[in-house]
Amino acid sequence: MMAIPLLHLLVLGAILFCLGLAIVLTKRHAIAILMGIELLFNAANLNLVAFAQYDPDRLQGQVYSLFVMLIAACETAVALAIVLQVFKYFKTAHLQDIDQLNG
């Protein structure tokens, strides 16, 4: 029986993390940046689940990944509420255009 090589899982996590980072850095729209953050969370989750394979009794990685998902759901709900308020107030959700504090 052949298992999935751990190195390939970690490399996949690294690729997804860097894609998420590039999205966070290069997108204009606040919701697009939120999607990039979700990608970052998922890359971290993949590593946690990959290492949980070697921990059959305690499954700490899987438990932790469940908590990460929960925090991500909370974060998205609150962040979207804030984005909607920002959109109502500034009439735009592009973060570059919201520069009131930029003296």
Partner: protein, 179 residues
Amino acid sequence: MPSLPQVLFYVFAGLAVGGGVWLLLSKNLLHMAFALLLTLLGLAAIYVLLYADFVAVAQIMVYVGGVLVLILFGLLLSSNATGSFVAQEPVNRSIGLLLAVVLLGGGIWALVQSFDAAFGHYPAVPALAQQAALGHYTSLHGLGKQLISTYVLPFEIASVLLLVALVGAAAITKQTSRK
């Protein structure tokens, strides 16, 4: 000759990375949401291959059923009639992509360099796979026991956090609609 789980892993990894690349390159926010859907589903399938069945189902229910739908509603409510869906020219393109590529290259290089020293002693077949090979395996028993014993305090705090986030999101959305 790779086994079936390995082939499936590479297929779903390709799906996840393809979704991520589409997410990065697309200028249309709605297309970005669909690309995120591809990535999330590919990762859920990979979790199944890693014997994390409950995490895979939670991924589909929470991310696809919850977060992604929430994001689509956010898009619906934060787009004006003049079509801000498509006007998505990227910013900081060169510096952002450079940083991500450098981090990716450095990360993969460091992983490959230090992999044998750090994880070389790990068994070739993970312990979970050995258990699964014995018969029907599910991570539910282990996860359930963990969540009501070792992690019972974080579990309860998480439930309170969910409630606070729910009330907070409702309060934030309500605040200015009253004015």
